[in-house]
């Protein structure tokens, strides 16, 4: 076929130009304008740390921070996110230094299969930014939109509490009951 005709048939022909700021870095790219932020992050920017479990806004695994707020990237059109700060799990650590939430999740075993973990880490980060001293109930409320099938959420609560304490400057360690039982 004539190359010009072929080009008009290609998916690329339906793309538009976009400018995104992800984890503090600017990205200029051409993307299909019907794509969600989730799809642009995963497919166009290869940031596959952001997961998907339903692509219908039901599970919370695709949560990212937009303007510091947790949002379900599967329900947000990428178009609407241009020029706004977007944070994904890949941007949580400060260079080689892990975020206290990441440290705590690793330490207490809050990530089992790890699939819901990025969405939960970012949602918890937003919670702690707003409320440095959350109660267990505050954490439950903040994470009520994030499904996890492995942990029963218990280790996740404990990790968030541990990270919160450390971020407040308290020398916290996991409880013995958390790691060894009662």
């Amino acid at each position: 076929m004539d190359p010009t005709a072929l080009i008009s048939l290609s998916p690329a022909a339906r793309k538009v130009e976009g400018h995104f700021v992800v984890n503090g870095e600017p990205h200029a790219l051409f993307f299909a304008e019907h794509k969600t932020l989730l799809e642009v992050l995963r497919e166009d920017l290869n940031l596959t740390g952001t997961k998907h479990g339903c692509e219908l806004g039901e599970c919370g695994t695709c949560a990212v921070l937009i303007d510091g707020e947790p949002q379900l990237s599967c329900l947000v059109l990428a178009q609407a996110c241009q020029h706004r700060p977007i944070q994904t799990v890949e941007g949580m650590a400060d260079g080689p230094v892990l975020h206290p939430l990441q440290e705590a999740f690793i330490e207490v075993g809050a990530a089992q299969c790890g699939y819901c973990t990025p969405g939960i880490l970012l949602t918890a980060k937003a919670l702690l930014a707003e409320n440095p001293e959350p109660t267990r109930q505050d954490i439950k409320n903040a994470l009520a939109g994030n499904l996890c099938r492995c942990t029963g959420y218990i280790k996740i609560y404990e990790a968030v509490e541990l990270a919160a304490a450390r971020m407040r400057g308290e020398p916290a360690v996991p409880t013995r009951e958390s790691l060894y039982g009662y």
């Binding site: 990530a111 009520a144 060894y180």
Partner: protein, 811 residues
Amino acid sequence: MATREAGKRGRGEAQKRAVVGTARPKVDAYAKCTGQTLFADDLVLPRMLWARLLRSPHPHARIVRIDTAKARALPGVLSVITGKDLPTPFGILPVSQDEEALCTEIVRFIGDPVAGIAAVDEDTATAAMDLIEVEYEPLRAIRSVEDAAENPTPQIHGYADSGNFHKLVHLEFGDLDAGFRKAELVREDLCFYEGNTHLPMEQHAAVAHATSDGKLTLWSSTQTPHYVHRALSKVLGMAPSRIRVIATPNGGGFGGKSDPFNHEMVVAKLSQVTGRPVKICLTREEVFYCHRGRHQALMKIRTGVTRDGAITAMDFESYLDGGAYGSYGVASTYYTGALQTVTYDVPVYRFRGARAFTNKPPCGPKRGHGTPQPRFAVETQLDKIAEQLNIDPAEIRLRHLVKANTVTANYLKIGSMGLGPCIEKVVEGSRWRERFRKLPYGRGLGLACSSYITGAGLPIYWNDMPHSGVQLKCDRGGGVTVFCGSTDIGQGSDSILAYIVAEVLGIEPVDIRVVTADTDLTPVDLGSYSSRVTLMTGQAAIQAAERVRVTMSGPVAAKLDVPVDRIVFAGGRVFDANDPERGMSFAEAVVTAESKVGTIGSVGSYTPPRSPGRYRGAGVGPSAAYSYSACVAEVEVDPETGIVRVPTIWIGHDIGQCINPALVMGQVEGSVYMGLGEALMEEMAYRENRNVVHKWPSLLEYKSPTTHEMCDVITYLIEEPDANGPFGGKEAGQGPLLPVMPAVANAIYDAVGVRIDEVPMSPPKVLKAIQAKAAGKDPRFGPKSVPTVPWPEAVYVPTPAEGGDGKAKAR
């Protein structure tokens, strides 16, 4: 050999262990918390195509015609294949080779695939689905077990035992009539357990890459790469030596990724046809159609007891709705009858099980595989018996526990048995004795117990080879690489390998690299199912590491000029036990040994001990070790709405020996969570008008516990080391789920005085029972009858107490 060696490491050595028994991070936790873990759908290869499957909108129909011409003509579509391109059937069990990659003649449930498309992107593949024309001739659908019993035709599969009953089992252990004659109370109860599904957060995904040298690589979110390898070879007609299956880290499995799947075959074929890599990622709706979840089970249990609650005989019947294919169903059926005997002493026992084929998504193994349903029946009935006999539910259980190191009526060999301490712990923690039957109306406590296998005693296909293999390679720099076919599905199997090798070689887990789940690179491990991995790969790893120690000890002893039996591996060093200063680093020891004997590596393998049962059906139930769990649930029942809230669950689990207690805690808490979901809300329900259309194939409408529904969990880990376990360890991933549902049911009775003999115990059922009680009717919600089944003659096996030898006998 490994078994004996592990047995020697009894409790006495516990203090000396550097790694085993201490909480520490999982080896893969860093990648999982930074977004670096690559799950199957995260993989991208150059020139990769996208696949979609066109699925049947009919529950049961003959395919009259498929026309793919318009789909093929769509720009961007590279290939469309149908059943005739992959006509060889497959299935996980050798006796149930009844699945097709794409249906050739008959579709058997809504969601059965009929065509596969490969296109340049997912949107194009999806658009092509609408362009495939399929003409169906609908057949009568079989909608339930009752429907299957009444309608032997049209038969869903011709190989069924009888009509639409896939499998009929009848086993009798000992003189049942004599057992019931000894009883002072005989109770008969009916229970119903709605099926439910795994709901892993990760949708199944696979990437296939067929290369022009005639080889094929498949990456897939599977729990059983070895079985996928075998099935791919069969369906593609290719030598297994040219197929490489790599299981990517699973974003949750719970049994739902244990079968070889049609989408794996289809992407492999599409890659061969197009010469390009092909990926598929199922939609969440499709994950519901893959299913293989908990069988719906109707059960009848008749138990005779003496006045002090000792069981004299048990007669158990299960009626399973298996869905459209065999899957693990034959094993599932046997499992609904296998483990009734391993918690409390049951001297004589009969089991009859029937699995129906119906036109619904196929059922299979979900966490607890076939045993949560009967456990619900046993534990709720025992609660009723205890009340009738005026014995405390904890006491009736404690009095009649199965004893350690005995053989049950159905020839299961019990090793260590820590249920007693588990019960004591949850009774104490929940203040059971002060609070049971004493809480105000609407609040209650319930208790239940359970047991589970630590790995199935037999492989899925008959063979004499090990169930698990491990290979070790020691680097001159002191690093050790562990190669093993096991698959990490989040349970921590990669970490377990590192901890165990580190323990035996006296090095740090961080100095160990683990390579797993790759049929080209790693020795076979059968897969992540039946709670087998820690025990079997652990024993294989111990053997491999001990062999490395033997290989290295000689040259090191010679160099240090000390007797070889004084060489110790600990603290990253290899040294003289009598003079620890005399030694060298582990890395120097590798160099010393390699200089002397060449490349340092080893292999280890493990096969579970043979069980004493020799009758047909004895293959399901035996295990190297049994874990035990006891649970107390506290509930708050709103009598106006029937809504049940569970504020706290106390759970005691006999783990044998923790390899990493933090991981055990996670498995126990996760099991309680999943059990709570099953108890209160989860159901694989079908629309009542036809009973074949899935009611809610979505994460929103399929109710699962969020942070708002999840209870507090108070966990007690009991360590009764088992001689067969690695360092004495037993399973944790499935057993603690089992007692949750009956504990909740028993607690509801304590709270409002009604029996909910069904799972899930959803608000409408609870409300109906409360209303029935108020109206002076039977205060119960549950099934009232069982279907008529053409049971086969019993396989009669005298029990060990009757002098039986494990073989069936004519009566």
